[in-house]
Symmetry: C2
Subunit: 131 residues, 2 copies
DNA sequence: GGAACACTTGAGCAACTGTTCAAGTGTTAT
DNA sequence: ATAACACTTGAACAGTTGCTCAAGTGTTCC
């Protein structure tokens, strides 16, 4: 009965190989929500843009070639998941990445997806410059 | 005109604060695809389960209290994004996390979402035991 | 060979998501 | 106070996604 070498899986094995609930259910739902918000091309593009520093909505909109409303809606989704920061500066509202953790998630996924072919040296170095 | 201290954002500023395309467009789409696959509670649960070691579909189904077809469909989505490994063992097919990178992504998100209240010591230590 | 087991797959339908449009809020300039 | 600017928001519609069911594939056992 070489269970460790051969992880076979008869019904009686299932009973012995009990799995543990590693995290509280709420944590999984929150994490899924974060991934869901990031799991959209245009929204992830936005995050990579903000990874290079703060920007106001108009600036983002012109950079992406989209209208204000669309960008604002995308930012709302990201904001609902706590992924971006937001502060007013006169007439403008500046958005940025919420914290280093978000920067890391985006950075890691991009590094993985581009398999080392990207130059990410400019990315997320401004996140801590919140002052 | 204190631009560095005050990142204001008049139209003429937008032109000077040019952003760079850090990654090729394809990489962003691939990364978004990965996040999209992870951005579903039940599917993320599956990944955390596989983070504790390989399991066959039947075992997963009984553990989650769902039917085979539903689990198989979820695994298909994860497989299409290259997040899980798959190998046959007799009648059974064993699934696991594809690589350490996937384990890291899930681990980081859970750690973030549970704010240090989870015991993740059992997680993903088996990923490299592919032999 | 045939039967049983362990999945996989395509189709169908309900539920969700993203974009656009039109109307609204808050701030600055006059 | 009025106008202009910089967004935000709710509703509506199209496109996408996830689950269930029924039929299919591949493997083992007899």
């Amino acid at each position: 009965m070489p269970k460790l070498i051969d992880p076979a899986c008869a019904p009686q094995d299932h009973l012995t190989r009990q799995r543990v609930a590693l995290v509280q259910p709420g944590a999984i739902e929150r994490a899924a929500g974060i991934f869901r918000a990031m799991g959209d091309g245009p929204r992830l593009r936005l995050l990579t843009l903000l990874g290079q520093g703060e920007a106001c909505v108009t600036e983002i909109a012109t950079a992406e070639g989209e209208d204000l409303s669309t960008i604002s809606q995308r930012l709302r989704v990201l904001r609902n998941e706590g992924l971006v920061s937001r502060r007013r500066n006169g007439k403008h509202i500046l958005y940025g990445l919420a914290d280093q953790h978000v920067a890391d998630l985006v950075f890691n996924a991009l590094a993985h997806a581009s398999e080392g072919r990207a130059d990410l040296s400019r990315f997320s170095s401004l996140v801590t410059h919140k002052e």
